[in-house]
């Protein structure tokens, strides 16, 4: 039988694996993406995935401090995507 701690380790390893897979897939889209908006969305997804990885790491290592890092990361990535979107719009209307 799995104890609580083993279950937590198993789950967090599984989730980390999935997140890394997400990151690889979105990196492929970032490199190949036919248009600029594709690349912007891929970059946003990578950033959100990084925030998710930090959060899972915080849970797995029982370090609640890292959750704040994830919050700040998510805010920064949000702003980056908005700035990118603005430049894309400017480029289209020009």
């Amino acid at each position: 039988m799995l104890g609580d701690f083993e279950l937590l380790t198993l789950t967090s390893n599984l989730v980390l694996g999935m997140l890394i897979l997400t990151m690889m897939l979105s990196f492929i889209r970032l490199v190949r993406g036919p248009s600029l908006p594709d690349r912007v969305v891929a970059l946003d997804l990578i950033g959100s995935t990084v925030a998710g990885i930090i959060a899972v790491y915080a849970v797995a290592n029982r370090q609640p401090i890292f959750v704040d890092v994830a919050i700040v990361m998510a805010l920064v990535i949000f702003l980056g995507t908005i700035a990118f979107a603005r430049f894309v719009e400017k480029r289209i209307t020009r």
């Binding site: 401090i65 704040d68 890092v69 919050i71 700040v72 805010l75 920064v76 949000f78 702003l79 908005i82 700035a83 603005r86 719009e89 400017k90 209307t93």
Partner: protein, 144 residues
């Protein structure tokens, strides 16, 4: 057809910004206040506050972000530096080396004793400098 000269505005972004802006400023003060004993501090707090103003400048425009800030960002840089230097001079006046942390115990009713020291004043100075520098750079670039 949208005419090509229409300014780029997004109602969704503007509405979201009103809420996110307040949350970001709150988060920045939270990061500033707990910076002494846990991760955080003036630098990261100032960055988050600067990002909040940049977001406001993107969602609305640079002019309204400036009026929201009320103080010229350059003034923030100068006053922050003065504040940090002042924190060092307090230690000098008490006979210790420059920038030594001096702590005072402040009794607050119902909450017990609280410690307030010159590192906090220094951190607030760093906070103001970082907000100022970020906004000087970003707003100047955005106005071009």
């Amino acid at each position: 057809m949208v005419p090509e000269t229409t300014p780029i505005v997004s109602l969704i972004l503007r509405t979201a910004t009103r809420y996110v802006f307040a949350v970001m400023l709150l988060l920045s003060i939270f990061l500033l206040l707990r910076g002494h004993n846990e991760p955080g501090g003036g630098f990261i707090g100032g960055l988050v506050a600067g990002i909040a103003f940049v977001l406001y400048a993107i969602a609305f425009d640079v002019e309204s972000a400036r009026t929201l800030l009320r103080i010229e960002p350059r003034v923030l840089v100068g006053s922050g530096l003065l504040m940090a230097a002042f924190a060092g001079i307090i230690a000098l006046a008490l006979g210790d080396p420059f920038l030594t942390g001096e702590w005072a115990t402040i009794p607050i009713p119902l909450l017990g004793d609280t410690y307030l020291g010159t590192p906090f004043i220094f951190d607030v100075g760093v906070y103001l400098v970082v907000i100022g520098i970020t906004l000087v750079i970003v707003l100047t670039l955005a106005e071009e």
